[in-house]
Structures are given as C-alpha cells and as structure tokens.
C-alpha cells in the first residue's frame, strides 16, 4: 500500500550536504505531525496492552497492585472455569446471531428502500434513524418494551391469552432480548452502508436481466447480492467485532444475568475488575478478548487490503 505514495521525495541521496538538510526537515516535520498521536497511542493503547499482559501473570490486591506472581495460573483457572466457558459460548452465540440478523435485516431494508417511489426519501431517513440512538436510550426503550408487567410484549401476550414471557429474567429469552435490542441499534448504520453499496450497482445489470426476463427475486440473489457481497462481508465483520465489545445494553438491561446467560466477555471483565475488585482476573480475560478480536480484525484487514488496491 505504501508504494502508492507520491515519489516526489526520493532516497537516492546525492552526496551533497544540502540534501541532508532537506531530509532532516522532513523528519522534523514527521516528529511534529506524528508526535502527538504517537504519544497518545503509546500511552493509551500500547502501554496498557503490555500492562494488561503483565498483570495477567499476577495476583492483585484491592487497589489493583500486583502482589504475587502466579505464572499462567490465572489463564488455567479461567479456561477451566465452566462459568467463563459458558460466557464465551454465550458471547459466540450472541455475536453470530447479531451479525447475521443485522446483515439480513439490513439487506431487506436497503433493497426495499432502493425502489423509486414517491416519498421514499422519508423511508430511507427513518430506516437509518437508529444510528442516532445511543446505548442508554436504546436500553430504556427496550427495557420498557420488555417489562413483564407494563411492557408491550407482556400486554400483547396477555391480550392474546398467551403465557407472559419474562423476557429479561429467563436465561434464554434474556439473550434473545439482548440480541433484538442490539440488532435494532445496529440497523441504521448497516442500512446506510448496504444501501450505499446497492446504489453503486450499475443499473444496466438490472436492465440486462429484465430484458432476458429474469424475475426480481432471482435478480436479488443472482445480481444484487453477489455485486454487494464485499460490502456485506465488511459489514458482517464490523458488526461482529462491535458485538464482541457489547456492554451498555447488557449493563442496563440484564447486568449479565440471569444465571450469567448474558454475561458476555466485556461485561465479565467489568464485573471481575470493577465490581469484584479482581483486576488480575479482569486482565486475563482482557487478553483473551484481545486475541479473539485481533483474529477478526485481521480478517477485516485482509478484506480492507484488497479493497484498498482498487
């Protein structure tokens, strides 16, 4: 990717002194231009990562100070802990469900919004509306909707004489509730991206398909989706990574419960470190989370790298 840089400054140094002077100013500029960002990243990204790694090999006291070196035992006890493993499993279920549902619904919204109809702009705007909703607001809306006594779902099932589901207190339905809320929050962003990709599909492809008499549904699966598959993959990975980092909705809606059913990885880190005061365990979990996210980010990079060259 670097090869694409303009070549106005070149390395083949003539032996003249002036040349050296010229270079120096470029490096000088680099220090000024890059310095602040570099310092911030070192202080708040690189250093903490190393510190987290360091702490994961120790026990910590109430104030988060490392006290006793324990080697890998934090990792061993974590990986063998059934509760951590079930958290991990829950997270995977959550993350997969969220990213698949988000993309499927995003495609549905985008395809529907990609018709030329009167007033379609209004619909497009409304479809993207959840982008403007922050975590806590979404949490409040959904908390109300899922409330077992006054919530809409409860009232609906009562009206239909169905058993009232205790959305946020039953382990299975709590997960479903969190997934629904998260998907809803992601929808606006996903819609915008997929819609943008749809709009860049050349109209002539559809015209050609229409002339041959291919149905709209076939066009969707044989033309539209292959054409935007790159974008779909991108959105999927981004959603996946973001889903791994879910925190706010869980904190406000279930606090990780019931029975740890929604105690996803990040919430666990928070609980272990900032509620139970066990910073070493929180650090160990952080490292594992980092490894998982790094893998998906690498996949994303691979994809990005491909796109960049176009």
């Amino acid at each position: 990717m670097l090869q694409r840089l303009p070549k106005q400054v070149d390395n083949s140094l003539p032996s003249l002194n002036l040349a050296a002077k010229y270079k120096l100013t470029d490096s000088g500029y680099a220090i000024v231009f890059l310095g602040p960002t570099l310092m911030l990243l070192v202080a708040f990204v690189f250093y903490p990562m190393l510190k987290t790694l360091y702490m994961s090999f120790f026990l910590t006291n109430d104030f988060g100070k490392t006290t006793a070196f324990v080697g890998l035992s934090n990792y061993v006890s974590l990986i063998t802990s059934s509760s951590y493993l079930s958290s991990l499993g829950a997270t995977l279920v959550f993350v997969l469900a969220v990213s698949i549902l988000t993309v499927v619904l995003g495609v549905a919204l985008a395809v529907t919004a990609n018709q030329e109809l009167k007033g379609i702009r209004l619909f497009r705007t409304l479809f993207s509306a959840t982008m403007g909703v922050s975590v806590s607001v979404a949490a409040i809306f959904w908390l109300f909707a899922f409330n077992p006594s006054v919530g809409v779902f409860a009232q609906l099932s009562q009206a239909l004489h169905l058993p009232v589901v205790n959305w946020l207190t039953d382990p299975k339905s709590a997960m479903v509730a969190i997934i629904i809320s998260t998907v809803w929050m992601n929808l606006g962003f996903t819609f915008l991206i997929i819609f943008g990709a749809l709009q860049s599909v050349p109209k002539s492809l559809y015209e050609a398909a229409d002339i041959v008499g291919i149905s709209k549904l076939t066009q969707l699966f044989k033309v539209t989706i292959p054409m935007i598959s790159g974008t779909l993959f991108f959105v999927m990975i981004v959603t996946l990574i973001e889903a791994f980092k879910s925190f706010g909705l869980i904190d406000m809606m279930t606090e990780g419960g019931p029975d740890n059913a929604t105690n996803l990885l990040v919430y666990r880190i928070y609980q272990d470190a900032f509620i139970n005061g066990n910073f070493a365990q929180g650090s160990t979990e952080s490292i594992l989370l980092t490894i998982i996210i790094a893998i998906f980010t690498l996949i994303q990079f691979k994809f990005l790298g491909k796109r960049v060259h176009y």
């Binding site: 903490p48 806590s136 006054v150 904190d251 880190i269 996210i293």
Partner: protein, 283 residues
C-alpha cells in the same frame, strides 16, 4: 430501477396500483419495525406514570414528564457535559489524526513503514480490554472525575489516522508538486490544501468521533463520580437505576430529550453521512 416505470406504462393501471400498494405496505411494515421502539418511547413520555404502571397506553397527554425531567433531574447538565466532551474529542481527533495521516502520506522519514503497521496493529486492540491499566493511568495523572478523563485518551485514534490516510492518498500528487513550486511548506500544504481537499472525509471523521464519544458508556462509568462531569449515557443510567419507583413517564421523557438532538443531527447530515460512511468505511 428505471424499468419499474417502464413496466407501469405497459401494464393495466389496476395491477399497477395494486403493486404500488404492495410496495408501500411492505415499506410501512418495515418502517414500523424500525421505528416502533421510538414511537412507544415518545408516546409514553407524554403519559402520566400512574397510567403506564397500570399497563395502560393511553391517558391524558401532557408535558409534565418533560417538566419533571428538566426540573428534578440533572438531564440538562448531562447533555451539556456530553456536548463539551464530544466536541473537544472531535476537534482533537480531527487535528491529530489528520496530522498523523499527513505524515504517513506526504512525509518521508525513517521507520515510516514500521510505524504505520504499528498504527494498524492498534486497531486490533479493543479499548474495552485495556480499561484496567488505562484507569490506573488516568488515576495517576489525576484526571479522574474531570472532562479531561473522557477526552484525553481518545484524542487520537489509529482508525481516524487510517481513514484520513486513505483519503489523503486520493489527493493528486500534482497538487503537492504545484505547492512545492509555489514554495508551500508542509504546514501550509497541510492546512491550506490537504484539509480543504479532504473535507468530506474530515467531516465524516468528525461526525464519527462525535457520535463515538457521545456513545461512550463504560469508560465514563468508571471514571466519573459526579453529575458535574457525567455524560448523558451514564446520566441516563443513573436516572434509570435511581428510580426505584419506575417513574416510566419521566424516564422515557429523559430518553427522548437525549435522543432528539442526535436524531436531528442525523437527519440533517444524512446525505453527508451516507457519502462519507461509504467512502470511509469501505475504502
């Protein structure tokens, strides 16, 4: 979808109308799915809590909940805090990220390649996994419970740098050459050419960082302890958890107060966002 119109011409009008009704019906169903949580929240924010807690979704509409939110909760203070924090973060991020992106595109220096990959690598490290040492860092810096604690760690991001770098690479190299001939130094080229040339990406990054900062939840929850600094996300959390009474009307009103500004920003800036997001995210 030009052909849809062509179809219309050739088909009888009743079938055409039927198809149109179908299309609209589908649109409206989808819209309701997306919008109903809003509508529900918005509607209940006007209802008296006594009605809501009975499970009724009707009653005398009034602004009483809003009045209560404004007068009995620090919701306005939370909003103010969030605006301050998000604005400062946005400005800092645009400045620092554009500067470092500039360095990666227009400056040749030793270790550039290495640094760039190091930057990229930071995108693999989730902030959520680094809160523990970061908390300790800001604590030792004496930043706890200040605006600074929510701004300083986010003043520069690898993502922003990467995004702007991609955008700066689109600047024709002739512009830089022309500027070299005019005798512009790097500062001048950065400030007078690069920034205005890439303003769509800059605006996109600004919007992105504003929203990201606005949506911060975990970090302010750990680092703010007073309503004077608490941003709106954690403010709402406080309100929700301190209302043992389930004062749903007022909570919904507070949520609406919080969501309306961002919705307005979103609707106004939608065009920009669309272009920018696609540009920024896919490329």
């Amino acid at each position: 979808m030009q052909l849809v119109t062509n179809d219309h011409v050739s088909k009888p009008s009743s079938a055409r109308r039927l198809k149109k009704i179908g299309q609209y019906a589908f649109l409206i169903v989808l819209m309701l799915i997306v919008v109903s949580p809003f509508l529900l929240g918005f509607w209940t924010s006007f209802l008296p809590t006594s009605q809501i807690s009975k499970g009724a979704l009707w009653g005398k509409l009034s602004l009483a909940n809003y009045w209560a939110a404004f007068t009995t909760t620090p919701i306005l203070r939370y909003l103010f805090n969030s605006i301050v924090i998000a604005s400062l973060t946005t400005v800092a991020q645009v400045v620092f990220c554009s500067m470092s992106a500039y360095a990666f595109v227009f400056l040749k220096f030793k270790g550039r390649k290495f640094l760039f990959y190091a930057f990229l690598a930071t995108m693999m490290l989730p902030f959520e996994a680094e809160v523990i040492p970061n908390f300790m860092t800001v604590k030792s810096m004496g930043l706890l419970n200040h605006f600074a604690v929510m701004v300083v760690p986010f003043m520069a991001t690898a993502f922003g740098t990467f995004m702007l770098r991609q955008s700066f690479l689109q600047i024709p190299k002739e512009l830089k050459e022309a500027a070299d001939i005019e005798g512009l130094n790097h500062w001048q080229f950065y400030y007078r050419i690069t920034l205005p040339y890439s303003r769509i990406s800059i605006v996109t990054l600004a919007a992105y960082s504003f929203l990201t900062s606005w949506n911060q939840y975990l970090w302010p929850m750990l680092t703010t302890f007073s309503d004077n600094f608490r941003p709106v996300q954690d403010g709402l959390r406080q309100l929700q958890s301190s209302e043992t009474f389930n004062n749903w009307g007022m909570i919904q009103a507070s949520a609406c107060i919080v969501v309306i500004p961002t919705l307005i920003v979103l609707f106004i800036g939608q065009h920009y966002f669309k272009a920018g997001l696609n540009e920024g995210s896919v490329k």
